[in-house]
């Protein structure tokens, strides 16, 4: 069942530019150079209920803008968005009661007060009944291991502890969709793991649809079943993560008993040297588009005996880099 449908979504920003130095600063008081920045150039996509969708893109690609429009924060210039029957910017008040959001760099907690106070304030804002609130809170305390921290002032908590509490804030009212903008930014590996497990569990248990933007590709690989890659305001990839990974390219690390003849290796068609690890070991990128892998290996061997062989899919980061460059 489609839960999010986006059609021809466009958004432009006007920015003002000025040159360097004091004189330019004075000039800009009277005359400013206008620059129109097309953040979204008419994107289309849809998301199914229960999906975990990764929104990827380089800095300034338009992914945060898209996320903010989808969460009812920004008005687009044109286009249609239908999320559970709502148009976010038109039905904002009703719509946002069905969504949750964690923006890694913007907190919903109160700096000087314990997170528990913020949870109760959230309860009042969303008019959550006492029983449902206590039940949810108890569950999240257990899932996120935050029993000892929710009564301490937020300012005394570590980033990881704060982030876990931000998730409680976003989930207390049992939203059907949750938008996560860089939810693991700056976290250590353990905190990241806790957050990822939490996302997985709420997705599985409550069928919450998750839209996540992250520069940490481990988040995307570990969590998402679908990826949307956005670059310069356009969608350049929209499919299952499996398809992103399935590539005709393979990375082979090959180790020989004898010294490698690099001259000959360099001349082989469909084979590219990625790294020379030693005189005996080399990492190669091979293209299996026109040739079977065993045949490529046969050519690489050049009659020599192989000591060890490691074949891998290219890391997702390389795949994405290639897509960004298109």
């Amino acid at each position: 069942m489609t839960i999010i449908k986006v059609e021809q979504l466009k958004k432009e920003y006007t920015a003002y530019e000025r040159g360097e130095g004091f004189l330019e600063a004075v000039k800009s008081l009277f005359k400013r150079r206008k620059k129109v920045f097309r953040a979204l150039k008419g994107i289309d996509f849809s998301v199914k209920k229960g999906d975990i969708v990764g929104f990827l893109g380089p800095n300034g690609a338009g992914k945060s803008t898209a996320l903010k429009i989808l969460s009812g924060i920004l008005y687009p210039d044109s286009g249609n968005v239908n999320i559970m029957g709502f148009t976010p910017w038109k039905d904002r008040k009703k719509y946002v009661s069905h969504i949750g959001a964690v923006f890694g760099q913007k907190s919903q907690l109160f700096w000087d007060l314990p997170p528990l106070d913020a949870f109760y304030f959230q309860k009042a804002i969303y008019k959550i009944n006492e029983d449902a609130f206590q039940e949810q809170l108890k569950k999240f305390i257990k899932m996120l291991h935050i029993e000892d921290i929710i009564k301490r002032p937020t300012r005394q908590l570590s980033l990881g502890e704060r982030m876990r509490c931000e998730f409680v804030m976003a989930m207390l009212h049992q939203p059907k969709i949750i938008f996560l903008d860089e939810p693991t930014i700056g976290l250590d590996i353990i905190a990241k793991g806790t957050i990822r497990n939490f996302i997985r569990e709420i997705n599985k248990e409550q069928r919450v649809t998750v839209i996540i933007t992250s520069h940490d590709l481990e988040d995307i690989e570990n969590l998402c079943n679908k990826v949307i890659i956005i670059n310069k305001g356009d969608i350049v990839f929209d499919d299952k993560i499996k398809k992103l990974k399935i590539s005709r390219k393979k990375y082979i690390t090959i180790s020989f008993y004898e010294k490698i003849n690099l001259k000959k290796l360099k001349k082989l068609k469909g084979v590219r040297i990625k790294k020379i690890i030693s005189d005996y070991i080399v990492r190669l990128e091979v293209n299996t588009y026109k040739e079977y892998l065993d045949e490529i290996i046969k050519r690489i061997r050049m009659g020599k005996r192989i000591k060890d062989l490691d074949i891998r899919e290219p890391p997702i980061v390389d795949v994405i880099k290639r897509i960004y460059k298109k």
Binding site: G72, I73, L74, D112, A124, D181
Partner: protein, 260 residues
Amino acid sequence: MRSFLKLWFKSAKLQIARRMAYRGEYFISLIAMFILELIGPLLIFIIYFNSEGFPGWTFYEVLLVQGILLTVKGFSFFSFAGIIWNSNVTLMRGEFDIVLLKPRNTLLMFICESFDAEDIAKFIGGLLITTYALSHINGITLVGIGLMIALMILGVGFYFIIALLASSFVFRFIRTFRIYEVMDIFELVGRYPKSIYPKAFGTLFTTLIPIFIIAVFPANALLGRLSIDMVFASVSIILLIFISLKIWFATIRRYASAGG
């Protein structure tokens, strides 16, 4: 509205608790603000007794004007005028996003989050001065008190208009902390009876910028000095509230958040 008031009180309690997290600073701020706000009435005291005073006004009547002004200003400042400061801070950091994520009227939610615990001192100071002045004025009627309170509420409306327009201004231009100085000018003008101003200014401050509604008119109403000016000012306030609300909501449509 009941739901909003419940939320506002909850937010007020939280904001006070936030400030009390730094107890020493909170109490010093309260006391400092209380003393600072007494300078206005003190100045009036000095002017009154070292000049010919204000024609047609006794000292306690003049003190009543000061008390009303401080009450109206104090109430406005602690209850909603914090949106000006909050607009500056949240807009620069793109934190207005969080307000828009709440399933509530944006303005009411923003007001809830902008409660200013410190300005309660102004309000309490105003109430004390008003009560003291009232205890020295004879011939007060219930109707007079009712009219005074009604006009004071409209006086709060005046500050509401200023807060909305100032917040809209911040949304448009980002970072305009100096707007508070404009509010001080209004206060300075509203502190004195209409009779001391040239006629043109008197008319301006009754109609287009109805400053007299924040103190002079409520005091006049209590003292039984009713005039058609009060009707003009009241109508003007209601119209201006409507216009400034329209402007505020139109302006937040332009909100562009901040980069991630």
